[in-house]
Amino acid sequence: MNDPLPYILTIAQAALLLLLAPFMVGWVRLVKARLQNRRGAGPLQPYRDIRKLFAKEAVVAENASWIFRFTPYLVFGVTVLAGAIVPILAVDLPLAPVADVIALVAIFALARFFVALAGLDIGTAFGGMGSSREMTIASLAEPAMLMAIFAASLITQSTSLSTMVAEIHKGVLLKPSFAFALLAFVLIALAENGRIPVDNPATHLELTMIHEAMILEYSGRHLAMIEWAGMMKLMLFSLLGIALFAPWGIAGTPGAGSVALAFGVMAAKLLLVATGLPVLEMGLAKLRLFRVSEFLGVAFLLATLAILSHFILER
């Protein structure tokens, strides 16, 4: 209690998330542009976008209710809070026990619930379309997500992220259950963050939109908060994946040296993810909405196989 370092680290984690998430997304866009033989904007472009949106006037539709105006704040708040909970730099920080992995998934679900409501609030066709699709996909992705998490927690006998990280540290490399769970997690992370092949974050065709369709009516600071939260969510999922499946390098005991090392390792791993994501996306085509169930079915299968192989092969 007397040592202030863990508390500083908790705030530092949330601040890091806020500051680095736009860079990560910028990097992803840059790599993607280069892969498509475009020059692309620099990795700092998202910062300029966010600043511009905050400065702009917010326009709200005439019949929007308080839900529409409250949602951006809630989504932003939920995401920042999650940043303080997920072990990014060190484990066992003061806020880490606030939510285990299951609760973390549920907290994200809370944000999605409100975004979907905001999509319905104005009463446009596109908003409803987006909400309906988003909730459908989420309802298929969430069980697969939890199954992947359950596989990891059956191996580590815990759902608390700090304990899981510590257990995985002890060495579970080469376990088939682990490999399957990781694969499943990657597929679901793509779906949850609205990436190809489930949704296309860069699309301008309303009829193919999912996430973008819900937030079409947002502008100004509201849009800035939602976009920023979206960037943080991508980074958080990457961090969650890193924490669950490749936590090596994270600080076990908070100390200046170990935290600096953890920061370096984390940055390197994030950069790797941010480079791998566009490469992966380049190899995929967006799926028809009604084929998404198969994509998520495969993710669910992988997660189930992870659990099965844990019991069949590893006991």
């Binding site: 088939p176 490999a179 079915g297 495969v298 992988l302 196989l305 192989s309 069949i312 092969l313 590893e314």
Partner: protein
């Protein structure tokens, strides 16, 4: 290399074999099916070779080599040529929808595990835990034959079943006697050739390799 590490590698490879069994169930495109099948053979061969090294059973090296030649190279090549020659439709529709098929597959894995767990208790081999996976691979091959209506997919299902049987022999008793194994290898090679002949026959008769068209034969009998 420590036996624990070897056992881990064996487990991982067998899990991959199982995964590819599911991949075969889910894949719609015919060439991709063929590739998945070849990968399954490859992992099986690698698995057999590692078991041979770990258990020090010499003749398993030969089995591994045989698998490599037959199931990774020869048979996929034959089928590839056949498909090209006959210019078959590339998409193979499944009879039951894919997520449901996968769920049935999962149920089959659980069943296999439950059936095999008493046997596993008695076995002392390093491969004992993969026995359930081998049985599951057989089951998945059979399931694939049931859910597909395309002749080529059926053949691949059949061959995947054979993969499972071979796998089972390796995990249960470190492989069958050499003579049997050679005989089986020869059998499936001949089977592949006979299938090829059948493909041509079916195609010339029905102008398609969709086996659901064979239902027409029944009406002829009725008349």
């Amino acid at each position: 290399m420590s036996p624990v590490f070897l056992a881990q590698v064996v487990d991982l490879l067998s899990a991959l074999v199982l995964l590819l069994g599911f991949g075969l169930l889910a894949q719609r495109r015919i060439y991709a099916l063929l590739h998945l099948f070849a990968w399954q053979g490859l992992f099986l061969a690698a698995n057999t070779a590692i078991v041979a090294y770990g258990a020090g059973v010499r003749h398993l090296y030969f089995s591994a080599l045989l698998t490599l030649v037959m199931k990774v190279a020869l048979i996929p090549y034959i089928l590839h040529v056949l498909i090209q020659r006959m210019k078959i439709e590339r998409d193979v529709e499944t009879m039951v929808n894919v997520p449901l098929t996968l769920l049935i597959g999962i149920a089959l894995v659980v069943l296999s595990y439950n059936v095999m767990s008493p046997i596993q208790e008695f076995s002392t081999l390093m491969t004992r835990s993969t026995l359930a996976i081998a049985l599951a691979t057989v089951m998945l091959g059979l399931l694939m034959m049931i859910t597909r209506r395309h002749a080529v997919a059926q053949v691949i299902g059949f061959l995947a079943m054979e993969n499972g049987l071979f796998f089972a022999a390796t995990s249960a008793t470190y492989g069958m006697p050499m003579v049997v194994e050679l005989g089986v290898a020869l059998d499936i090679l001949i089977a592949a050739l006979i299938f090829g002949v059948f493909f041509f026959q079916i195609r010339t008769t029905f102008e398609s390799l969709d086996l659901s068209k064979m239902a027409r034969l029944k009406e002829d009998v009725g008349e």
